[in-house]
Symmetry: C2
């Protein structure tokens, strides 16, 4: 009876859905956007901030697991990250259907076709002819395998597989195997775990526990340890790779599989599987996933008249922004308390600029939980992460940017956060050196930063650390002021000017004067940078504002700037653009410099340090020039195709940058306003808390009418080129009247 | 049939054993020695360096679990440490037999009697009348419960219990519950785990997995989560306490239980239980334990004429020395490689002086493995531990003393150690500040130590850190020299004089001149020490050479000296006693000072910093005075009773100090010689590698003839008061001719 009700309700659901689908926003999401080229986004099914991310692993190389056809498929593993660079992480608990006997561990096959949709992945294999369909719940994945009638029906569960395995012992950024275990506990259930350390963030060991259940019984089983296949029902952890081979009745053409995942235990994984998926309906799991996303997409509705390509780009960008960090509340093996727990901040250095601000607009309660988890990680682990994965802080890239995430939440008035404790966490970064642990957390080079006011060359990433620490100091100042701590405010406001200590005033390059340049501890500017250990040779190489890396044998992550040049970082002072303009010789020189920056392509579209740069024209009263730059960048680099992102999406960073600019708003993280630009979308409505709504409308927007003439906010003329967060959360309408020529609008950023 | 053979062989064994017992050295071990008062030794069964240490837990307070009768017994848990102070650690997986129904979780009872022997513990409970007998294998414990015929036969397995639980949230040094799980997997098997963080070393979460098997089936079972008892066969980890209640046939008066333990998984715990205990013979498990110990005790044989009390004190001291660290090879959840893995270095600050050197003499291969594991912990975790427990480095107490352990192994020629990597690990301590992590590992205060040559007051433990770092620097110098690195040698030899930078020359106290005293970063000596944060009041307290602690609200672990006074640390310069004598004003003044130190009881017998002090008379050519001090200290503070140790045994530190002095040898850790004193034992034979033997004999030793007159080594006159390690490992005989009066022997420590 119960079953019939289930079947009925599923039928009913799918009827409602077939109708709903036509109006659903989630139909615009295409997980393939940014999946090829540099984007590296995760293409498999995932719930918002979902812990489980099942996907094909096409060799053990790619960060997201997936590679385009015709690349081989090793199988389908359950945990992945999205859009990351460097050494891969995760790729745990690999399942692979096959049509043969139980005599081999690996069953690599090739795709005949492939379907990638929101919450749904499907492929048919060439050799085996088996079709695999995948969807997922937050903590449990769901598979439907359709075997050819005439083949054997077999399934491999590999607890030893992981991404980024290296033949070099202890290779940097490579994941390293620690242990695994497998248990066949009934004729439909297998459980176990895999334990891995390292990977991009050089993290400590993490353990992914699983519970796998099929809807039909196994008729034959084997297990393996190392390369040895046996008839044992389990393989205990002797720090070797283990797995199971399962075979089903040859009449069972369709086998369904649910895999619960946990970071606590296999029984918790079992609980997760049964709590989230109490049935065997693939469609129901998929529909629940779609409903979760739809609820979030509905928070930002855009004009129905929007071109499909823009709809796809926009909602896919929102989707990418909410794949990570991952909600692991109740799944933390390190401590127990009542705070939320998020992992896979990967990396905040990438996401603090636009991802966090976008989540704050779409789902402020979610961002509140994320910020609370950051502060709690400080309380339990000693430092907030700049990046964190596999329950380990690491790797720092520049600043201690969680501070900016807290400041952003604070200035935007997110409720339910202990900001006093948050400030304590920020001050820990700013006052307690991480010592030998500086690559994992805290502020490496803090001692000289505090003594000299800058980080001298020789300490890894001295340049961008100095620039970013001063930005983080500004974030501390803002929160301190808001909490009424004037002494702290004064101290850190002053310290936030430290970037000027690396500003080499006279230095000219390509028509611009003044750059952030390397300096030694005695204060000398370094044109030639020493490298290597030889005391006799004293080898050097010439450093210029376009230098990215030293000689091949100088580790790039130890360079003066991380993943960027001085041209980029010398324009990356988001907390003191007026001070930067002054340093650059005033408004006119600054505009010239920006033009050189973009026209001579010193601007690097595929990395985060220059995210704000196209908008810097706002500060010289020429927002229309910012808009021109932004639109040109998007036109040249973003689209709704599989190579639609110009760089690693970095768990949604690139995507959230795009999403903001499509609406016409752009945040300056840690501060309470958004810059106003010409949008790509003619209408955007934000559904806010307490039923409030904020609408951005354009009048006459077209390729010709691309310049804002006048602006009204709730009917009143609005002369400023930026708008405060509170003006948005209060609800209302911002109308942009467009025209063919640049106008006088927006000479000033905000009212004083 | 097989069973009969087992029974036969057991009978045979026990026959042989009954004979062997009479000559066995292990019969002299009394685990009760040092179990009461400050000693805090572990009284339960343990194999040498055994991972599993089952013991009664008498309330959740005591460090070793056990307290003397009439204290209550909560049950018997499987993991403990020995002789530790501060907040407790472990006390995991509690089992408790009871004679009632299945309606309660706790079954606290009281002891009617108690038997504590090597490898054997037995008690009968007052209320239930149940007798519990315990023995153990290295990774699996074994229980025999004998129930009254007329009572129910029940057993509780509590995966939520642990020692040192505090009602104060996040109390310092308190263990904190993280999670637990229980599964009844058959009618004779239960498995699960407990996950705990914190404890004395403020460590990260550790997980103790268990597999429990009984020799008779359960007829009824329940499980609990939180306070709720249910009929479920398992309780998954929802970060609450769980456990199982088991009941047996009422005809089963004797129930045997084996509990495998693992730090990897429950299945590995199962493997450990079955691999180590494949049968149900309590006696066989016990005999195998006795045989392991006997093999080690046989390495040092003493004269049969030795008084029983001395035999008991000596062999129990050896026993205590080999309880920890714990061999966890193959049980490391953090990484996998071919190096040995040891945990529960608790703490090296305590054990480096005498425990490591004693293990090196008894079992050099064991010490080699221990040193290799320390170096490998550096390689994997970044720093060697000063203390480590639950797979986490922490807490540092003073120096980075693993460096001295390595130097001790190096100068004594232990083979199979990568000393180049070892030196790298030592240099990491000495050059890379641990930053905010200074309480866990590395050298806290390293930056000022290197800049000023001392650690200024205000940095926790500035005094003893300065003194100990300079000792560690000497250890680095020795290894560097041995590896042919003259530059390093010169650098660190010079740096090893840093203790002098805190030596306040003129300062007089109680008739002595010159003390290690607090100094600020400007170089001023501090008579009055500031404390508290008030800027108006500027409160201070007077610091003198007998000051132990500040006001109650200044944390004692942040004081100038850790667990000691300036009187003690000002005489604790083991690497430069001649330099110390000079600082004290020459031989005569030094002797006066030593006399004041002991006669006025500034000497603290119950802690390690003064371990070498009684022997300092050797350096002024009066070894007989050292012997007098040593014998007086032993007579007053050590005996073969339960209060036979004057301080925390600190996993064998106190005991190994005693054992060395009983033989007449005393090591100066990190250096290659042993001081010669009047022994308590008239004859001691060391069985060395390659069948070599080194014998220390006395001629005419008695309470009257307590002074060494002359010494011969292998028949030749030996005028020195110390002997090199190589002279011992070469084998031979050292004969001490005794007399009533002090003699001219031993004016010089060693040949130059």
């Amino acid at each position: 009876m119960k079953k019939n009700i289930l079947v009925l309700s599923v039928l009913l659901l799918s009827y409602i859905n077939s109708f709903a689908q036509e109006t659903a926003l989630n139909r615009y999401v295409d997980p393939r956007i940014g999946s090829e080229g540099l984007g590296r986004v995760f293409i498999g099914p995932s719930c918002p901030f979902g812990m489980v991310k099942p996907s094909p692993d096409c060799t053990a190389r790619p960060n997201s697991g997936w590679l385009p056809m015709p690349e081989q498929v090793d199988g389908f593993s359950q945990v992945h990250v999205s859009g990351t660079g460097g050494g891969p992480k995760y790729g745990n608990i690999l399942v692979m259907p096959f049509g043969e006997g139980m005599d081999r561990i690996q069953h690599i096959d090739y795709r005949k076709d492939e379907t990638i949709k929101l919450g749904y992945y499907s492929t048919q294999f060439k050799a085996s002819g088996i079709q695999t369909e995948i969807t997922t719940a937050p903590k449990a994945s769901f598979y439907r395998f359709t075997y050819p009638a005439d083949s054997l029906k077999s399934l491999a569960i590999d607890a030893g597989f992981f991404l980024g395995e290296s033949s070099v012992p202890d290779a940097r950024e490579a994941q390293q195997f620690v242990g695994s275990e497998i248990q066949i506990i009934s004729d439909r259930e297998v459980m176990g775990y895999t334990r891995i350390r390292g990977g991009w963030n050089n993290g400590r060991a993490y353990t992914v526990y699983f519970y796998a259940e099929t809807d039909k019984p196994f008729v034959r089983t084997s297990t393996w340890k190392g390369n040895k296949i046996t008839n044992d029902k389990y393989q205990y952890d002797s720090q070797q790779k283990t797995g199971a081979l399962l075979q089903f009745e040859s009449s069972d053409n369709v086998i369904q599989l649910k895999i619960g995942i946990s970071f606590l235990s296999s029984l918790k994984a079992r609980e997760n599987a049964h709590a989230e998926i109490s049935h065997w309906s693939f469609e129901t799991v998929h529909q629940q996933l779609l409903d979760q996303w739809e609820g979030l997409f509905r928070k930002i509705e855009i004009s129905p008249r929007t071109p499909d390509a823009y709809k796809r780009m926009f909602y896919t960008a929102l989707y990418h922004t909410m794949l990570m960090p991952v909600d692991r509340s109740g799944e933390n093996p390190l401590w127990t308390d009542n705070e939320p727990y998020y992992d896979d901040f990967y990396a905040i250095w990438d996401t603090y600029r636009t991802s966090s601000p976008l989540i704050t607009l779409i789902d402020p309660e979610r961002e509140t939980d994320i910020v609370r988890s950051l502060i709690n990680i400080y309380k339990r682990d000693g430092y907030m992460p700049d990046a964190r994965s596999g329950n380990s802080n690491g790797r720092t890239q520049g600043g201690s940017n969680a501070e900016i995430v807290i400041a952003d939440a604070f200035v935007k008035g997110l409720k339910g956060i202990d900001y006093e404790l948050g400030l304590e966490a920020m001050l820990k970064d700013a006052t307690v050196p991480p010592g030998g642990n500086g690559e994992a957390e805290g502020r490496g080079g803090l001692v000289p930063y505090l003594q000299l006011g800058y980080i001298p060359y020789g300490i890894p990433r001295a340049g961008n650390r100095t620039v970013e620490y001063s930005y983080c100091d500004y974030a501390i100042a803002l929160v301190a002021k808001g909490l009424g701590k004037e002494d702290l405010y004064d101290h850190y406001l002053k310290q936030s000017g430290n970037w000027k200590n690396l500003w080499r005033d006279g230095y000219e390059h390509a028509g611009a004067k003044g750059f952030i340049m390397p300096r030694d501890e005695k204060g000398n500017w370094l044109d030639n940078i020493p490298f290597g250990k030889s005391k006799i040779q004293k080898p050097t190489f010439t450093y210029t504002p376009v230098t990215f890396e030293g000689p091949w044998y100088t580790p790039w992550w130890d360079m003066f700037f991380y993943e960027a040049s001085s041209w980029e970082y010398s324009l990356s002072i988001p907390h003191d653009v007026p001070g930067l303009i002054e340093k650059c010789g005033g408004a006119e020189k600054f505009e010239e410099r920006l033009d050189i920056f973009f026209d001579k392509e010193f601007f690097n579209v595929n990395n985060e340090p220059s995210f704000l740069s196209p908008c810097l024209y706002h500060w010289i009263g020429k927002p229309h020039r910012s808009s021109d730059r932004v639109h040109e960048i998007i036109r040249k680099n973003y689209n709704d195709g599989s190579i639609g992102l110009p760089g690693n999406d970095d768990s949604g960073a690139m995507s959230s940058w795009l999403a903001f600019h499509m609406t016409g708003l752009y945040p300056n993280a840690g501060q309470d306003y958004y810059l106003i630009n010409t949008p790509l979308l003619e209408e955007t409505s934000f559904k806010l808390e307490d039923g409030k709504m904020f609408k951005i409308s354009t009048k006459g927007l077209s390729n010709k009418n691309k310049y804002i003439q006048t602006v009204t906010l709730n009917g009143n003329t609005y002369p400023y080129s930026a708008i405060r967060h509170k003006d948005i959360t209060d609800g209302g309408e911002l109308i942009l009247i467009m025209g063919e020529k640049p106008s006088e609008w927006g000479k000033q950023l905000l009212s004083n």
